[in-house]
Symmetry: C2
Subunit: 334 residues, 2 copies
């Protein structure tokens, strides 16, 4: 075995815990087409994000309830007894739409929960499939692009309808399936405390949150340099979300690309995040980094970053920290 493989093998069976005992959940994002076995091989703590909209790319026509059930159920069974978080279709924006629509600003348009609530048949088909896959109580259901409490109320109403239907049909499901939201629209970040009262969990979606906070389309080359993970408004907003969810003891995670960035990891954990969902391939490196650090120094690092006023300063501080405290520890993994 190479030194690299030996390292990985060792890490597999070890928890993601800092030197001073702070444990972090490392979950995997699942692309539908991916091999589950790879995730199960690398991922200790469940699946933090299933991007169900990818089903639209797999199937020629819109997948029906049974087709969806088969996919969700297979995932839930494979990862059991660990948890899988299934996200409702996040279509629209830059993602595939079931209809041909030309919006002037699709990122600010008909997408996520907006589209789902406007399409109750489509949404209910998915909800029924998710409920049927929840029988073993390891499925959580997550709503994308949430803006208002009324959207959660409306979604819960549809979930209740589906439960009633299934009960009448004699089909079993987890009656207490946790329902949570993505916080990825700035309004939801502002209202975190109110959402924490009515949802079972929260996941921060950094890709969209950063786009909207900074009003920058990261797919647009002319301005994409202004899409800044370490913009002070981003850091402070993430801190606000974590603190407000924490006050209400609502589980909070993160599933955007920022969660997968090794340079961001010390900051995110220092800010108080206890659960990250990233690509399965990145889990060993994240684990190795966390196991070489003290949570106390991460908290200090985060506090210092919260006081900085521009992105360059924060970026420099994080890279300096990485070079001084981490790069030596992980050189075997490159």
């Amino acid at each position: 075995l190479s030194q690299y493989d030996e390292e990985l093998l060792k890490l597999k069976s070890l928890p993601a815990v800092t030197l001073d005992g702070k444990e972090i959940k490392l979950m995997a994002n699942l692309d539908i087409s991916e091999e589950m076995s790879f995730i199960i091989h690398n991922c200790a703590d469940g699946i933090g994000l299933v991007r169900t909209e990818q089903l639209f790319e797999e199937y020629e026509v819109f997948p029906d309830e049974d087709q969806q059930f088969e996919v969700y159920n297979k995932i839930a069974e494979s990862i059991y007894p660990k948890v899988v978080i299934i996200r409702a279709f996040d279509i629209g924006g830059d993602k595939v739409l079931p209809v041909d629509l030309h919006e002037p600003n699709p990122m600010l348009g008909w997408r996520g929960i907006r589209l789902l609530l406007d399409s109750p048949n489509l949404f209910k088909t998915q909800i029924r499939a998710v409920l049927r896959a929840s029988l073993h109580k390891n499925v959580w259901f997550m709503l994308p692009m949430i803006n208002s409490l009324s959207e959660v109320v409306a979604a819960n109403q549809l979930i209740d309808e589906c439960k009633k239907e299934l009960t009448e049909e004699g089909i079993k499901y987890d009656d207490e399936i946790p329902v949570g939201i993505m916080i990825e629209v700035p309004s939801a970040a502002v209202l975190t405390s109110d959402f924490a009262d009515v949802v079972d969990f929260i996941s921060i979606g950094t890709n969209d949150l950063i786009q909207y906070l900074l009003a920058v389309d990261r797919g647009n080359e002319i301005v994409s340099s202004q899409y800044q993970e370490f913009h002070p408004a981003v850091i402070r907003t993430i801190k606000h979300i974590i603190d407000e969810a924490g006050k209400k003891s609502v589980p909070i995670g993160m599933c955007g690309e920022m969660a997968a960035d090794p340079f961001a990891l010390p900051l995110l954990v220092g800010l108080g995040l206890e659960s990250l969902s990233i690509s399965a391939a990145g889990i060993p490196l994240h684990k190795k980094i966390l196991r070489s650090l003290n949570y106390s120094e991460l908290k200090r690092l985060a506090d210092e970053c919260l006081n900085l006023k521009n992105e360059d300063e924060i970026n420099n501080k994080l890279h300096k920290f990485f070079n001084e405290k981490i790069s030596d520890q992980i050189k075997n993994l490159y």
Copy 2:
């Protein structure tokens, strides 16, 4: 004279002050093509927003420094000794662009200060024209779409360059011309306190702020019903901006459409706004409303709205307040 005209005539010479003595500045937004005389007739407190990008619609080619100077100087002289706030070109987004550009999401693209800093010649031409018009010390200069402190630093650098050039050319200007920013991107709202340290004034641009906070393109019919002035995240963000600017004693105003909405007026004043810029035609009605109310009850109204959790509740409360306390007072003005 009709009763309507008599009312208007009376209001012209009276201040916009509540029954219990709170005075509010009511300024006018100026569309370049508009009649200055109408504004001067209706507007007691200066011009709160000149949309200079409208010059692109007036001129066939890009207006040069002298052409711009003539326009700005005429406005400054007409409104003297009151203040005029000239906003730097806010091109891009849904507004005219000097180049043919196809962005997937123009609202999240190359616009406002981003475009200006990428086009220093264009920007400096405008800055020189504004400086030349500032001689009588009643011109303020405002930067649109600000996201980061570094953008303010870069803009100030160009302003300093222009000042130096003008001094060398023996041309006079206001060396202490106030430079302020629009807060209309959520990141800037988050960082209000930091911006308050480095700018001379702040104006809240509600149209864009609401769009980005809620991730809703208000020009898109499919989702425009979700563009909500009274969304709780909007109200709380406005409150945050006012409070943080207030702590640093930085003058703060508002110049979006929300400022012109009579239903929003009691709330905005109750939240602590002391300056509103609206269309000149709306000023008498706003004045009439303010003169019939007590600031103490507006503060109570705002506090109640800050505690509500959805847009419908806030909307209902404001309409109830309007019907009970205001509609009788203003029926002569309809």
